[in-house]
């Protein structure tokens, strides 16, 4: 059969796992399914796993929600952004980006920094208030960037953007940050006053990064729905690579894992085995479901007597837990409950949540 007869959509561009993006179908939302009031300075992971919101100096606020959808065949969820506070007086340094940060070791197939650097395609389904926004690849190690505008309409549209390979600057084969996939949704003149050079890799020039975009924060009527994000090698957008929920969840847990959550239906209140370490401290141990990317943060909600260590006849409780990062591996955690008193060394304890508000998680996000 002549090659011209081969349907290019049936040719895999990047192997069995062509999509570099994690949770592209927005199916995993461990932290929360909806968060209001987003917009404060800085970066935050709030709802759908692996997607970060980065804000700079804006007065605009939004609600982000993992939203079920029925009007896009093949997809059950999307991320919905709903502007709740408008910001129509845009200062120069303002910005809002919706971002996925990608490990360097997951980008080696791109051959960046070589003459064989691969062409890539970013595709996604989007609808909402009609606007023009910017999609950007940002090589974090070499501070080189490339942008392309895209349009949002009130109907679901699959946007497909093909980017040239970056032949200058390699990305290290490591667990460190290699590349940002940025969606610019709001920006001041610091980022919009330059020249739009579509699909041209170059060193960072902030003024050129978001030229010509509309502002998501221009009105409280503004909405944006996005799902099916795919980043793959090749010059065409192949069919979205759907993954099993369990597989995607496990991949997300490399970056964020809930150890125990008192408010989650069907979740075990137990979070490991404890051992009397000294008179006022019990150490507890928990094996992660997924190896963590890097040294992790322990997040523990503060709840009066929310965390308990029990034996058959004794209960010790505290409002929080702690850990010492130097003693950790990427596979497990040894935490502690301290300042409790009356603990005998080497005694065994059953560690469990004591409140629906108690929550323990670890984060190793990029």
């Amino acid at each position: 059969m002549a090659l011209s007869k081969v349907n290019p959509n049936l040719v895999s561009n990047g192997g069995s796992r062509s999509n570099i993006i994690i949770n592209g179908a927005m199916n995993v939302a461990q932290r929360a399914t909806s968060v209001t009031g987003l917009g404060a300075n800085g970066g935050t992971y709030s709802t759908v796993d692996r997607y970060r919101f980065d804000f700079g100096s804006t007065a605009g606020r939004l609600t982000a929600t993992q939203t079920g959808i029925t009007d896009l065949a093949g997809f059950a969820n999307c991320t919905k952004l709903d502007c709740t506070t408008a910001d129509t007086s845009i200062a120069a340094g303002e910005y809002f980006q919706f971002v996925q940060r990608i490990e360097g070791q997951d980008l080696q197939r791109l051959a960046y920094g070589t003459s064989s650097a691969k062409t890539t395609t970013v595709s996604f389904y989007v609808k909402g208030t009609a606007k023009t926004y910017m999609c950007e690849l940002h090589d974090a190690e070499n501070t080189r960037l490339v942008q392309q505008q895209f349009n949002v309409t009130t109907s679901w549209t699959r946007v497909s953007l093909t980017f040239a390979g970056n032949t200058s600057g390699t990305i290290a084969d490591s667990a460190a940050l290699g590349l940002y996939l940025n969606f610019w949704l709001h920006a001041g003149s610091t980022y919009t006053s330059g020249t739009y050079n579509a699909n041209t890799w170059k060193s960072q020039v902030n003024a050129d990064r978001a030229v010509g975009i509309g502002s998501f924060f221009s009105s409280t009527s503004n909405e944006l729905f996005i799902t099916g994000i795919q980043f793959e090698t090749g010059s065409i957008a192949t069919d979205f690579e759907h993954r099993r929920y369990g597989e995607e969840l496990l991949t997300c847990q490399r970056y964020y894992e809930i150890i125990a959550d008192g408010g989650r239906a069907n979740d075990s209140p137990y979070f490991g085995v404890g051992q009397g370490a000294k008179s006022d401290q019990i150490n507890w141990y928990y094996d992660f479901k997924a190896e963590k990317r890097a040294t992790f943060t322990l997040a523990v909600s503060t709840v009066s007597n929310g965390y308990a260590a029990k034996t058959h006849s004794t209960t010790k409780s505290h409002s929080t837990l702690g850990f010492t990062s130097v003693h950790q591996s990427l596979h497990s955690i040894m935490g502690y409950m301290t300042n409790i008193g009356g603990v005998t060394e080497h005694t065994a304890w059953q560690m469990q949540l004591n409140s629906a508000s108690a929550h323990i998680a670890v984060s190793a996000e990029l």
């Binding site: 404060a40 300075n41 800085g42 970066g43 935050t44 667990a175 460190a176 000294k278 008179s279 006022d280 990317r293 890097a294 040294t295 992790f296 943060t297 322990l298 997040a299 523990v300 909600s301 503060t302 929080t320 702690g322 850990f323 010492t324 990062s325 130097v326 003693h327 950790q328 300042n339 008193g341 009356g342 984060s363 190793a364 996000e365 990029l366």
Partner: protein, 104 residues
Amino acid sequence: MNIETVKIENNEGDFRVNGTMIVPPSTDNADYVFVQEWIAAGNTPAPQYTDAEIAFNTQAETNYASRAYLASTDWYITRKAETAEAVPSDVTTARAAARTAIVE
């Protein structure tokens, strides 16, 4: 991340942020990058323990040591009960001090 408070968590360089997150001193950790920015902006982490926490910890150590002493000298009391041999006066004095020192 919106940082409101940062406190030293332990002697290994970890920070407790907003009372709910323990952040390791590793530049590979995204939360630590936020803490560094917060410090660079002129903020200072609070010390590991408040005065009340220091007092609590000190009392806990005292309680532990006192109970351990009482346990190690209980055999004098048993011996006296079984044989009528007196408990040495220094032991009696020290046991009384240990009982007094324990504060629940």
